[in-house]
Symmetry: C2
């Protein structure tokens, strides 16, 4: 094999959905979708005129690459139902090591797209960093070649680095989004539309393309403006969970400016 | 007066800098810059061919509007050096009530641009929400007219709402930016460039233009993936402050999905 042309997916969640679409748009053949959720695997297979079925129905010899994209907690269960294969086998997890696949084959890899996927929202894959790892140099090159067909940002990243990147991503994406949720909730409680802070959120992320987040920091805590912080905390007493978060983050921002 | 044409600024920080530029670009005359920081007021005055000096040198009769834009904690001290004026008097604070100005004049207002300003970073003012308040209807109309010259997003917001918006903005902007700082620091410690998560950050904020932050939430805590959370917390033990933040935010995300 000099090129990966045929792929089978195990799993039919957000990552599979978006990866499959990007591959299909680049002329890669999606041979089949397999997994525990009959409804969604069948939907995806129908959409791409592919096969579908339970994991035991997957025929490894028909494909160049099997991508397992399931929630981390489901990985062990899924691996138990997969026979040992002689096909290149990759998972898409940010947290799991490549070695979790080791009883299932000799050619192991990770194909981790660093992005936040929601089924309802299309993404432009060409801009999504793909973090690749493989236990063989030739397989790594094949994967790189495949990855470059769908993205301009392809990195070789080992399991330890990938884990650190995933933690950083939780802070930068999942936790930030939760703060947006808090902001929306606080505004809603006062009949103010969320749109009033949309431009602020955009500028906050636009700034860090030019400045480091440390240099871009603004706000009461960064200025050590204790009067405003105290007034805000008093105002937040009716929402104890937001009070707790405001207090902790302000404390750490203040400390980070002392160093 | 049927239109605000001449403005004096008290204060020469980030907000003054960006507001002054937006006004100047819209043909408003910047009569002078006054304040405690001789160096920066002089720099701004030189840039706009304006007057400059200490607050006592400001001649209210020469202008249609005085904008006080100083840190909240400096407001009282600044107001003490300002004589009572018969000119429209506005501050730009998100937290302070309009009434803080009440001993200094009869025509009081607030002109609050909801944005994160850093001197090194230019902003497009046309997209910045301006939150206006005034104690007279006619003055409010004058301010609206002025605000619309520099922004397409002009809102009438009272002091209570403005305070709530400011708190929401601290969560959505200041705290998010601090999370970006944490992400950058975690990556740096592992020799990974910050750029690998830039696309993720962009997509996170792009998503909430289409989905509510609640619907856009992803990540281990949202999935109640305790195994990944525990693994991340173990990994964060060497940075106790990040450990504490990860733990608290994960706890609240998990709780928020139960409601």
């Amino acid at each position: 094999m000099s090129e990966i042309k045929k792929i089978a997916f195990i799993g039919s969640g957000n990552v599979s959905t978006h990866l499959a679409e990007a591959f299909a748009n680049s002329g890669i053949e999606l041979v089949g979708f397999y997994g525990r959720n009959q409804k969604t695997t069948q939907e995806m297979a129908t959409h791409y005129h592919s096969k579908w079925g339970s994991i035991s129905e997957l025929k490894p010899s028909e494909v160049d690459l099997i991508i397992i994209s399931v929630p981390d907690h489901a990985m062990e269960e899924v691996l138990q139902t997969l026979p040992t294969v002689t096909t290149l086998l990759a998972h898409t997890s940010g947290s799991l090591s490549m070695e979790i696949l080791q009883n299932k084959g000799n050619q192991l890899a990770v194909f981790y797209p660093l992005q936040t996927f929601s089924k309802e929202k299309k993404v432009d894959f060409s801009n999504i960093p793909l973090m690749l790892e493989a236990n063989g140099d030739y397989d790594l090159k094949l994967l790189e070649n495949l990855a470059q067909k769908i993205s301009s940002k392809v990195y070789r990243i080992n399991s330890l680095q990938r884990k650190k990147i995933h933690i950083a991503a939780v802070f930068a994406s999942n936790f930030s989004n939760y703060l947006y949720h808090i902001a929306e909730d606080l505004l809603k409680r006062n009949d103010i539309p969320f749109e009033v802070i949309q431009a602020l959120i955009e500028e906050t992320t636009d700034k860090i393309k030019k400045l480091s987040p440390y240099d871009a920091q603004t706000g009461p805590a960064m200025r050590k403006d204790m009067e405003t912080i105290e007034a805000h905390l008093k105002d937040l007493e009716e929402t104890p969970e937001y009070h707790e978060i405001y207090k902790l983050l302000s404390k750490h921002i203040i400390q980070s400016r002392k160093q």
